[in-house]
């Protein structure tokens, strides 16, 4: 979507830093996401991508830096102001996070009942529409415990789009799903983004999924952004030979994109203090 860059970003992250204890989980993240695009954030486990997502939805507050949604800084907002912003975006959690005491239909109806003045029959129609969009209309009366993993995610998605949000966040939407269900979820993300004209931000470490859905991609490593670019840029990086690449960062990204067992990512783990560690044991034994 080349024209998107001309618009002003709907999500703006600027120099965001966050530490837990002594560990710096996010280290100066700056990221702009434009209306209508699907931005996929990739990175290994523990790279900070889920933490980044939690800062964007206001669950966590950064130590430094700003997070702007719809042009307004959410880091300085009161809970009431933040709640107004929260009604304008939806989020699909990793586990689906359905409320287990409510049926699938009631889960979808909950935001509508609480945040709108619609009457019950309208809400019922809305719920049917949302569930049909994710292909779960006939399962409205089931309890979440009766659903498979893929169905739970789809139900969670129906709840996330209940209030017709402008932004959709996805936290590992395909993790723990079989390949066919994963592909269905991917297709659903693309369809919803196009049909509902929303902006999507997807956090994942499934490369096939990332390359299927992304307009732009962003790779996170150790709390820093290694690379942001279009899907095409990432594809050509993946398909390039290592000799063509100059920068260390590109080599790291390439290994991750290809899922190679050996490369710069794994090399840096080998070059640790393993020998020193073994020597220390010897020294202690001598004492």
């Amino acid at each position: 979507m080349p024209t998107e860059t001309e618009k002003s970003p709907i999500i703006e992250v600027c120099q965001m830093t966050r530490s837990f204890g002594t560990q710096r989980v996010l280290d100066g993240i700056s990221l702009d996401i434009y209306p209508g695009e699907i931005m996929v954030v990739i990175g290994g486990s523990g790279c900070g991508k889920s933490t980044l997502l939690r800062h964007l939805i206001g669950s966590l507050n950064p130590d430094q830096g700003t997070v702007k949604l719809f042009g307004r800084d959410i880091t300085t907002m009161s809970e009431a102001e933040l709640n107004e912003v929260r009604k304008r975006f939806g989020i699909l959690f990793q586990s689906g996070a359905l409320f287990n005491s409510l049926t699938v239909g009631e889960n979808v109806a909950l935001p509508l009942r609480e945040h709108t003045n619609l009457d019950e029959s309208t809400i019922e129609i809305m719920v049917k529409i949302k569930l049909e969009l994710v292909g779960l209309r006939e399962h409205a009366d089931k309890m979440p415990a009766m659903l498979s993993g893929g169905m739970k995610k789809r139900a969670g998605l129906a709840r996330a789009i209940a209030l017709d949000p402008q932004i959709l966040f996805y936290d590992e939407p395909t993790s723990g799903l079989d390949p066919v269900t994963s592909a269905q979820i991917d297709q659903l993300i693309i369809d919803l983004t196009r049909k509902l004209r929303v902006t999507s931000m997807v956090v994942t470490h499934h490369m096939s999924s990332a390359f299927t859905i992304a307009d732009r991609m962003c790779m996170l490593d150790k709390g820093r952004i290694l690379k942001i670019g279009s899907r095409q840029e990432f594809e050509s990086l993946r398909d390039s030979s290592p000799e063509q690449l100059q920068s260390e960062q590109d080599k790291l990204v390439r290994q991750f994109l290809r899922g190679d067992a050996y490369g710069p990512i794994t090399d840096r783990k080998v070059a640790s203090d393993y020998e020193d560690d073994l020597l220390m044991v010897g020294l202690k034994a001598e004492e």
Binding site: S59, R86, F93, Q94, A97, N100, P111, E114, H115
Partner: protein
Amino acid sequence: MKQSDSESDKAAKATPLARAVASLGRFTLTAGRSIFSMLGGMSLLLGEVSSSTAKGLLISKQRIGCDALITQMVRVGVRAVPIVILIQMAIGMILPLQIFPKLDEFGQAEQIATINAIAGFRELGPLMTAVVLSGFAGASIAAELGTMVTAEEIEALQASALNPVRFLVVPRLLATVIMTVMLTVIADVVMIASGMLTSVKLGIDFDVYFQLTTEAVNVTGFVTGLVKAAVFGLLIGLIACFLGLSVKPWQGSEGVGQATTKTVVYSIVAIIAADAVFTLIFYSYGLFD
């Protein structure tokens, strides 16, 4: 690294007594800190619950979900009814049997009725109900909320601009308070009935027993018992909700288990402590005369 080495060296050189004192000190410090932070957190939660409940009563858009409240009342209370009845039947029998020989020596055997009534209405009815409910209601609420934290449900509520306190804590807390009071009434009645049966078996005249019971049970005794029950219920609900919501997502099932155990232990301690305070207050205001 180096600093911790030197610290451990120091610890190794210290005498066993010094080490014991040091660990006792550390324990007291951590325990004190956690008690204060817990009390603080619980007070904040209580404040939020109060404002949420007040808003729920006044503003129709923020009404308290009646369905949720009834569901919780059934869950909290109804299943506990048989246990409460069983326990109170046993206590209503135990107390007369324990005291009867001594009273009989003084020729005051029929005073069992008075003792049973006072003990039941003022003390054992509310206390035993609360103890049963801290296991039944408290543990299950803490486990449920803790599991909801680990399943990202609480975060999902917040991300949907829904307040977990209003949605989850208020109905559970109100249900616990209401059901503790209602169960206490059942517990009172069962204990009196059971005591009556036992006493009649021991040879006390039914009419005398009945009359002494009605004399011993006055409105004040009954109401003070129910006030205590309400506060016990509040404590159980507050501790359970607080500890359940304090589980961290990454703690998983271990965190949920800890929250559940802590809820039962802390609830019982809190109930007994509150009971002592109430008894002192009621006594000094002459409510027991």
